[in-house]
């Protein structure tokens, strides 16, 4: 039993007893300020003379902007500045690049292309006046036919949305394929059984509790711009601002303070950030822009929106041979997908799942529609949520076709442990995995066989109960710089570690927490390597002036990339400490043994120095061994050699009210394998959050539009996110299959549950409804849609 001190209180944890400093359960260092309401978010920032910015947005989904009259708004006594697209165009700032090498309007100049698009902005002395003045701007629109139904976007009659692009005569964004079409066709031709299913993953929104916002403060005297903003990637944003706005990069400081949830929503650069910068440049004052809830939901990065046809080929005995899919992707009005350059569909290529296949093929077409741009990695590590949903749904369809138990079918087809590293038919190299024990553990925790018996008893009584299974493999931790970049920036991450003379330390990260607990986890990583207690290690992040360059936190990449950097930089410091210790103990380095926090002379129990002793010596008086510089610090830039591939097995139990068709998630068992577990409490917390997210997507969340392109989900009364009342007590378990290439064997886990849970829930609902002849029903499984399914006709959400 070990006690951990946190803010003066000591908390005992059982599983940390052999690790007094390092990995293990530990209360989060950042929580005392959060639970006291002392977090400091962008909107908490108050600067002297600060002005407030509000954005006028288009009420129409597709229209030509004929004129923008700002005279009345400018006459408002509290208004300092009104800016239109035309004014930005004069400065060459009306358009900005997206994360996918498309362009997006900062303020509309020619047309508006989605409801909620930015048209003009007002800067005023307070946010009330700014908002009031928006109503004084008179915009004349010529309405155009919108493209809303993605399936009609490529029809010859469809109006061309992106006539700003030279020579553009249709709404096509890209075609993309992966795998081997011919080989897959050959396998399908000779397969005993082929099952196909149309599957929709509706448009959803990350909906972080804190909306997006920024405070821009340009100091004309020293020419420096400071931008506090809600960003998951402060360094990448700084470089992009330098490139777009032409400001020298060393004169830009991006600070990402406490962030109230990101989930991918805060990866892109939004027009609002650019407007705030322009406003500060023009007024010479700090300018705050914080969007409201409706603006966040209707205009910022959405996720998913894939219409998929899944096909699976198998033998009659249940040997899965191939998976094939055709995808129509709705990218909205501008292609703002956040994904590495060579991966226009993100990591959707892992749709082959956890199975050893003979062939696989995917063909995708992406199109423009008159909807908000985005396509962010909403807790999905670049489209893996869609990929896992597709394969886990279609595998269940196959199980139903073969009348085979879904766990049994999966177990028969898992990639076997000896096959790792495993190259999939779409070219991904899974680093490690041992799937069967994870599935078995979930089965045991759930009491699966008894659940099936209970289901039979309940069915006999006319009750509707379902058991759903999913098994996911994720690809997280982007990524090797030879393959992966975003707008030309390699996806490596830096880390700096400095040990102070008294043995306390500061570690500086290039990634930025949005609630993941970095201040704790990274302190523990360093603690494990150096033996300095986590409480004695300050974690600095989120400020480009204070931290080394790196690409930020999304796609579950912090632990796989920056976590590796933190471990390696600590080992670099330890290597130096070893040299100093050898001098202090007057023995050769070869005679030293490392025991967490202490170098000992082999065979002499009384001869040792602690890391704290060494730190003082490194900064103190007296000679150091020859060739050793003073100080005890190091830095590193870590380039991952591969992604990490966590996996997990989920089992969900639902009950459906036969009269109202309302789904209740009764139980949910989640067994996750993220390799080495640094802080199990934080991992469980992330799993709980992701599972809750999954319930939201499976049962209630969807960004919907009417046929005119009006967004019908612009408030949290219309875009439902789950509460504690919709979720069961989560039952979690774990297995540990370390990553062979990560310095401490850890894999990312932040998005695992969001990826793995929707198929488990949908599979459970479909399992429950199988007596009604149902093999598939699309999300969100609202009572109305489930009732339709019970009548044999579930209507897709598009």
């Amino acid at each position: 039993m070990t006690a951990v001190a946190a803010n003066g209180h000591r908390t005992a944890f059982v599983d940390n007893d052999r690790k007094p400093a390092g990995h293990g359960r530990m209360l989060r260092k950042e929580d005392p300020r959060f639970v006291r309401g002392r977090g400091r978010y962008v909107d908490d920032l108050q600067l002297p003379g600060m002005l407030h910015l509000a954005i006028l947005r288009s009420p129409l989904a597709h229209a030509r902007v004929l004129s923008v009259d700002t005279a009345l708004a400018e006459a408002h006594p509290k208004v300092r500045l009104v800016v239109t697209g035309a004014m930005l165009a004069e400065k060459g700032l009306a358009w900005m690049p997206t994360l996918s090498n498309d362009v997006q309007a900062v303020l509309a100049t020619d047309k508006v292309r989605f409801q909620g698009q930015e048209v003009a902005f007002v800067v005023a002395e307070d946010r009330y006046a700014a908002r009031d003045a928006l109503e004084l701007i008179d915009v004349e629109y010529e309405p155009l036919d919108p493209v809303i139904d993605v399936r009609t976007a490529l029809s010859p009659e469809a109006p061309v949305i992106r006539d700003d692009l030279e020579g553009k005569s249709d709404n096509h964004v890209f075609d993309w394929e992966t795998g081997d079409a011919a080989a897959t066709e050959e396998v399908f031709r000779r397969a005993d059984v082929v099952v196909s299913q149309d599957i929709v993953y509706p448009r959803v929104h990350p909906a972080p509790m804190e909306t997006c916002g920024a405070v821009a403060d340009y100091d004309a005297v020293d020419g420096k711009l400071t931008l506090w903003s809600t960003t998951q990637a402060p360094h990448a944003h700084r470089t992009l601002y330098a490139i777009v706005a032409g400001l020298p990069e060393h004169k830009i400081r991006v600070v990402s303070p406490d962030i109230g949830g990101g989930f991918g929503n805060k990866v892109p650069i939004y027009p609002g950030y650019v407007c705030a910068i322009v406003a500060s440049l023009l007024t010479g004052k700090p300018v705050k822009w914080v969007e409201d809830r409706a603006e966040n939901l209707i205009s910022t990065g959405f996720a998913r929106d894939y219409i998929m046809r899944g096909e699976i080929a198998a033998t009659r005995e249940g040997r899965i041979l191939a998976v094939r899919t055709n995808v129509l992707a709705d990218h909205g009005a501008f292609n703002g997908v956040a994904a590495p350059t060579k991966y226009p569909a993100g990591f959707f290529g892992v749709f082959t799942g956890s199975y050893d296949l003979e062939a696989a093929y995917c063909k995708m077409t992406a199109v423009y529609t008159n909807k908000a741009p985005g396509g962010v990695a909403y807790a999905c590590s670049f489209r893996i949520t869609e990929a896992v949903y597709l394969v886990e749904r279609i595998v269940d369809c196959l199980a139903a076709e073969l009348r085979m138990d879904p766990i049994e079918l999966r177990m028969r087809n898992f990639i076997r442990p000896e096959q790792f590293p495993y190259r999939t038919k779409t070219g991904w190299v899974y680093d490690s995995g041992n799937y069967a024990p994870t599935m078995e553990l979930a089965k045991r925790l759930a009491g699966y066989d008894e659940l099936r018996a209970e289901q039979a008893r309940r069915r006999a009584r006319g009750e509707i109960m379902g058991i759903g299974v999913s098994f996911y493999t994720e690809a997280v931790g982007a990524g090797p710089r030879k393959d992966m970049d975003i707008l030309g920036l390699g996806m490596a991450d830096g880390c700096e570690l400095r040990v102070h003379p008294t043995g306390k330390a500061v570690v500086r990260l290039s990634v930025q927490s949005q609630g993941q607990g970095h201040e704790t986890t990274f302190a523990q990583i360093v603690a494990e390597e150096l033996g300095i207690p986590p409480q004695d290690i300050e974690v600095v992040h989120g400020d480009t002036d204070q931290t080394p360059f790196g690409l930020g936190t999304y796609g579950s990449r912090s632990t796989p990339v920056s976590g590796a950097a933190a471990a390696l930089v600590a080992r670099k410091v330890r290597d130096k400490a070893r040299l100093i210790a050898s001098g202090m103990l007057e023995v050769s380095v070869a005679d030293l043994e490392w025991e967490k926090g202490t170098f000992r002379v082999a065979g002499d129990p009384d001869a040792f120095v602690t890391i704290q002793d060494i730190a003082m010596r490194a900064h103190g008086a007296g000679d150091l061994p020859e060739g050793v510089e003073g100080g005890l610090e190091a830095q590193i830039c870590y380039n991952p050699e591969n992604l990490t591939y966590p996996h997990g097995a989920y089992i969900c139990v639902v009950d459906i009210d036969p009269g109202t068709a309302k789904v209740t998630v009764r139980r949910f068992v989640a067994v996750d394998d993220c390799g080495t577990r640094i802080n199990p409490m934080i991992i469980e917390g992330q799993v709980h959050g992701g599972l809750t997210d999954g319930v939201g997507m499976a049962l209630m969340e969807m960004i919907a539009f009417d046929e005119d392109g009006n967004c019908l989900s612009g408030s949290l009364m219309d875009y439902l996110i789950p509460t504690a009342l919709e979720v069961p007590d989560w039952e979690t378990g774990f297995t540990v299959t370390p990553s062979p290439h990560h310095p401490i064997g850890a894999k990312g886990v932040g998005e695992s549950a969001t990826v793995g849970s929707p198929p488990a829930i949908v599979n459970a609902v479909v399992d429950a409804l199988s007596p009604f002849g149902i093999r598939h029903a699309d999300m969100p499984l609202t009572p109305s849609r489930v009732w339709e399914a019970m009548r044999g006709q579930p209507v897709p959400p598009v």
């Binding site: 909107d43 946010r127 009330y128 908002r131 009031d132 109503e135 914080v290 409201d292 809830r293 409706a294 009269g659 109202t660 068709a661 309302k662 049962l699 209630m700 919907a704 019908l712 989900s713 408030s715 009364m717 219309d718 439902l720 789950p722 509460t723 009342l725 919709e726 609202t782 009572p783 109305s784 009732w787 339709e788 209507v795």
Partner: protein
């Protein structure tokens, strides 16, 4: 942050003060009670008023639940939480506690009021359905004194009531009859959401155990919460029975006028009107017989 358009704000201390102010300001003014419907609408700028008259100080005067022989009188400023927690009210009309348990969330219930709920006149409003079920009448005070309006005349369309520009709803009255009970059920997509459909039922038996009267109130299946008068006629004088609840459910489904929206298809809502009507009648009867509380 969503911010409303500019408005003037005045707190009043008495009903007479409120009425006088309303009389002076006319339809440019609006009363604000709990504010959990009005203020969000103003922040979204769906509603704009020049004046807001805050009547929260009237809670002392209008916040009460008075149980009298044959009548329960509830002040218009009685908050959801007080309705939820009143054992006296739950004993007479269990439908109240059923409904309050599924209205919004504790934060809203701490502020929102009975009067505010009725005057908002949202077609999905749960307390309106409860009042319809219980054959309530509404006491409205204006410059010329009080008038009493039965529930079926109180709502005059979505977001429209019988309360005039210079009037205020002060009290809601509920007749208490012997050998009766009531129940409420709601289907929502998520806790705290507006109803997809909800139904209240009240049932009274005569001394011989036959149905003396039955009332059903439905929310979210028409322009206003709907009482279904046909049900009373079909059930009166008959012994309680499962077939009768089914008959009542059919009448409810036939009589309502739901529309397809994001909460569900019209067809599904009609199904729910039937299903929930059956459930609440069944439960009301069980409660009369002491089988369920």
């Amino acid at each position: 942050m969503q911010v409303p358009a500019p408005f003037e704000y005045q707190r009043v201390g008495t009903v007479d003060e409120a009425v006088a102010l309303l009389d002076r300001l006319g339809d440019t003014a609006r009363l604000v009670a709990g504010g959990h419907s009005l203020i969000p609408m103003m922040k979204l700028r769906l509603a704009n008023f020049e004046y807001l008259i805050d009547i929260n100080d009237l809670h002392d005067e209008l916040g009460y639940i008075r149980v009298e022989p044959g009548l329960i009188r509830i002040g218009a400023m009685t908050r959801h939480r007080e309705l939820l927690e009143s054992d006296e009210l739950a004993a007479a009309f269990p439908v109240f506690r059923d409904a309050e348990r599924v209205i919004a969330d504790p934060v809203v219930r701490n502020r929102g009021t009975l009067g505010g709920s009725l005057c908002q006149a949202d077609p999905s409003e749960d307390l309106s359905a409860v009042c319809t079920t219980l054959d309530a009448s509404c006491v409205i005070r204006g410059t010329d004194g009080e008038r009493v309006v039965p529930m079926e005349d109180f709502h005059q369309g979505p977001y429209e009531t019988a309360v005039g520009d210079a009037e205020i709803l002060t009290e809601v009255r509920f007749p208490v009859r012997p050998r009766g009970s009531s129940a409420y059920e709601k289907v929502e997509r998520r806790a705290g959401d507006w109803a997809v459909v909800s139904a209240g039922a009240a049932l009274w038996l005569d001394e011989s155990g036959l149905i003396a009267d039955a009332r059903v109130g439905l929310a979210a299946v028409g322009p206003n919460t709907a009482g279904i008068p046909g049900i009373a006629g079909a059930l009166r004088g008959r012994p309680p029975a499962e077939e009768l609840w089914a008959r009542a459910g059919d009448i409810a489904a036939e009589s309502c006028s739901p529309v397809t929206d994001r909460r569900g298809s019209a067809e599904y809502k009609r199904h729910l009107a039937r299903e929930l009507t059956m459930r609440v009648l069944r439960r009301a009867e069980a409660r009369i017989n002491g089988q369920e509380v």
